[in-house]
Amino acid sequence: MVPPTRRHLLQTAVAVTAGLAGCGQLLAGEESSSSRSVSDGPDATVSGENRETDPDIALVRTGGDSPPIRMPDDDEASTGSDRWARQSRHRSHVIIDTRSRAQELIIEDIPDAESVSSFLSATDFEAETLYLETISVQECFRLELCSTSWSTDEVRTDYVRRTRPYDERCSADAKVLESRLIRIPASLDADEVNSYGSSISGRGSCHGGGPAGTEGTGGGSTGGTGNATGGGTEQ
C-alpha cells in the first residue's frame, strides 16, 4: 500500500496528537495546555480576564540542556534525570515579582545577555511582574507569543509555531529551548499564582488563519527588547 503522503500526515496530526493529551509535552500543530491546578482549555483566557496581545518580552534561545534564563533552584531540576527533571527541561514557568528575585536569575552567557539585563532593570516591580516561561521547540521552528492573560492566581500564554526561514541552518531532529521573560503590566504575588497554562497552535498566525506560510520576522511577540539567538545545535 502506498504510504500516507506528507500532507496527509499533517492533516491527521491534530487527531493523532489529541491522543497524547496529558503526556506533558507540547507538540506543534495542536493546542495543548498544562497547569499545576485546573486550567482552561485551549485559547481560553483566565477568569477575570486581563489580557495583553503585545507584551514586552526578552527572548533567549539556545540548544543547551538548561533553560537559557532560569532561577538557581531550576539548576538542580534541569540536571536531574528523573521524569520531573526531564519534563522541566521541556517547559517551566516562574513568577518573578521582586527586583531581588530578578537579580537571582541566571542568564546564559550569550552576546545579547546585556539586553536581557536591561530588560530586567527597566521593569517596575511596583506595577509590573515578570513571567519567565521556557518551552522546548524543534530547532527549525520558532514560537511566536500571541498573548498572555492573567489573574491573581493564574497566568496563561498562547503561541503559534512558525517555520524558520529556509536559509537558516538547523537540524530537523534537534530541539532548542526558548526562554521568555514576559512583562505583565500588573503586580502579581508569586505565592498567590498557582496555575499556569499555555497553548501552541500550528495555524501560523496569531490572529486567525492568516496567509499560511508567509515568512516574516514581525509579530506580536518580538517587540520590547525581544531578541532571538540562533540555536546552538546547528549541523
Partner: protein, 426 residues
C-alpha cells in the same frame, strides 16, 4: 485478481515475535472474557507496506502506453531539476530540506506503484500523485535556485481552473451504450471536478516561504494533471464512438431521477436509527444504516447526471447490504469469532464475495468501483490484523471483523444493484 502475498505473519514467526505470546494485547479490554486467539492462527496477511487490494478501479477506455510514458517522463524531468541528495549547502533548514526530500521520495514511490499497477487507470492515478509530489519538490528547489514565486504558480493554477471551466461548459455526455458511457462520464467528471476548486492549497499552519511555493507547485501540477487526464479520457472515449453518437445526458438524468425516487422510498422504509451499542452485531447494524442513509445524500450532492447514477449505484448497494446484514442478525448471526479459523473464514468470505460480485454482475464495469471499495475495506482490515504481534482476545479483532463483514455484505449486494441500475439506464 490475485491474493496478496502472505508475508508478514511468516516474518513474525521467523523472527521469533511469537515469543511475546501472552503479553497484554493493545486492543484487548478487561471486559472481554473470550479466550485468546493465538497469533499463529490468524490469517497470514501481507505487510501493510506491501499490501494491495485484490481489485482496483478501472475505466472502459483504452489508455495508451504513450500517455503513461509521458506522465512518467514529466515526473522524472521534474525530479531531474533537483540536486539530489539535497544537503545543508542547498537548503540549510533541515526541516524544509526533509520536506523536499520526502516529496521526491514519494514521487519515486508513486512512479514505482504506477509501473506495477493492476489497471491502467490506477497507473494514471499513481502518476498524477507522482507529478504532484515531484512538482512540490521541484518548485521548492526553484524558489532557491530560480527565484520561483508563489504568485507565478498561482497564476498557472488559475489558468488551469479557467480551462477546466471552459471544458465543462462545452462538455457533452456522448455515447451509444448508456452503461459504458455512464461509467466513463461519471469517472471522467469525478476527475475533472478535482480541478474546479480555486481554493489555495490546504497547507497546515505556517510553512515558510519556500514550502508555500512548493505547496503551490503541487497544487498547480495536480490541477493540470487532472485536467489533462480528463481531456485525454474524453477524447479517447469519443474516438471509439461512431460519428453520429448523440448525447445521453437525458438518459442519465431520467435514470438518476428514477433511482433517486427508489432510494427515497427505501430510506422512508428504514426502521428508526439503531443505537450504537457495544455488541459487534449492533455496531455493524449502526454503521451500515448510516452508510445507507449517507449514500442517498451523496446522490443528491453528486453534481451531474453521470456522477449521480454512479453514486446511486453505490447507495443501492448500501441499502441492499443493510438488508442482508439484518437478515443475518435475524437468523441469529452475531459475528462472533472464537478461533483463528473463524477469522480466516470471514476474510475468505469477503474476498470470495468480491470475486463473485464481479463475475455475477451483468455489467461488471458499472460496479467495479463499488467492489474496489470493498477490496480496500479488506485491505484496511488486514492492516488492522497486522498490528497484532501477540495472541489476541476476540474483542481486539472487532475492527477487522467489522470491515470483513461489511465488505462481504456489500460485495454480495452488487449484482442485484447492478441489475437495477442497468434497468434504469435502458
Amino acid at each position: 485478481m490475485t491474493d496478496p502475498a502472505p508475508t508478514r505473519r511468516g516474518f513474525l514467526l521467523a523472527s521469533g515475535t511469537v515469543a511475546l505470546a501472552g503479553c497484554s494485547e493493545l486492543d484487548a479490554q478487561s471486559s472481554d472474557t473470550g479466550e485468546e486467539i493465538r497469533l499463529t492462527q490468524l490469517p497470514d496477511v501481507p505487510d501493510p507496506d506491501e499490501s494491495e487490494p485484490i481489485l482496483v478501479d478501472d475505466i472502459p477506455v483504452e489508455i495508451e502506453d504513450e500517455t503513461l510514458t509521458e506522465s512518467a517522463t514529466r515526473v522524472t524531468d521534474l525530479l531531474g531539476t533537483l540536486p539530489m541528495p539535497l544537503g545543508p549547502e542547498d537548503v540549510p533548514n533541515g526541516h524544509v530540506r526533509r520536506e523536499l526530500t520526502e516529496a521526491a521520495e514519494q514521487a519515486t514511490g508513486h512512479l514505482d506503484s504506477a509501473r506495477s499497477a493492476q489497471t491502467r487507470l490506477s497507473a494514471l492515478e499513481s502518476l498524477r500523485r507522482a507529478r504532484s509530489e515531484a512538482r512540490y519538490a521541484a518548485a521548492g528547489w526553484a524558489f532557491v535556485d530560480d527565484d520561483r514565486t508563489a504568485t507565478e504558480l498561482q497564476a498557472k493554477h488559475q489558468s488551469t481552473v479557467a480551462e477546466a471551466g471552459a471544458f465543462r461548459s462545452e462538455y457533452e455526455y456522448l455515447g451509444t451504450d448508456p452503461v459504458r458511457a455512464v461509467v466513463v462520464h461519471g469517472q471522467l467528471r469525478n476527475t475533472l471536478e478535482r480541478v474546479s476548486s480555486g481554493r489555495p492549497p490546504s497547507s497546515y499552519g505556517d510553512r515558510g516561504e519556500l514550502l508555500t511555493v512548493a505547496e503551490w507547485g503541487d497544487h498547480a501540477e495536480s490541477a493540470r494533471a487532472h485536467l489533462e487526464d480528463s481531456r485525454y479520457l474524453y477524447d479517447r472515449f469519443r474516438a471509439t464512438l461512431p460519428s453520429d453518437a448523440g448525447s445521453l445526458e437525458a438518459t442519465f438524468e431520467t435514470a438518476a431521477e428514477s433511482l433517486i425516487e427508489s432510494l427515497g422510498q427505501r430510506r422512508d422504509e428504514l426502521p428508526s436509527e439503531p443505537e450504537e451499542a457495544d455488541e459487534l452485531a449492533d455496531r455493524l447494524r449502526y454503521r451500515l444504516y448510516d452508510d445507507a442513509e449517507s449514500g442517498v445524500r451523496n446522490v443528491d450532492d453528486a453534481g451531474g447526471p453521470a456522477r449521480a447514477v454512479l453514486a446511486a449505484t453505490d447507495a443501492l448497494v448500501g441499502f441492499l447490504a443493510y438488508d442482508r446484514l439484518q437478515s443475518r442478525i435475524d437468523d441469529g448471526d452475531r459475528f462472533r469469532v472464537e478461533t483463528g479459523e473463524d477469522v480466516r473464514a470471514m476474510r475468505s468470505a469477503a474476498l470470495e464475495a468480491i470475486r463473485t460480485g464481479l463475475e455475477e454482475s451483468s455489467r461488471p464495469a458499472l460496479v467495479r468501483s463499488v467492489l474496489a471499495d470493498a477490496a480496500w475495506r479488506v485491505l484496511h482490515a488486514d492492516d488492522e490484523l497486522a498490528r497484532h504481534h501477540s495472541n489476541v482476545r476476540p474483542r481486539g479483532l472487532h475492527d477487522s471483523i467489522r470491515r470483513y463483514v461489511t465488505a462481504t455484505v456489500r460485495a454480495k449486494s452488487v449484482p442485484t444493484a447492478c441489475e437495477q441500475v442497468v434497468d434504469a439506464l435502458e
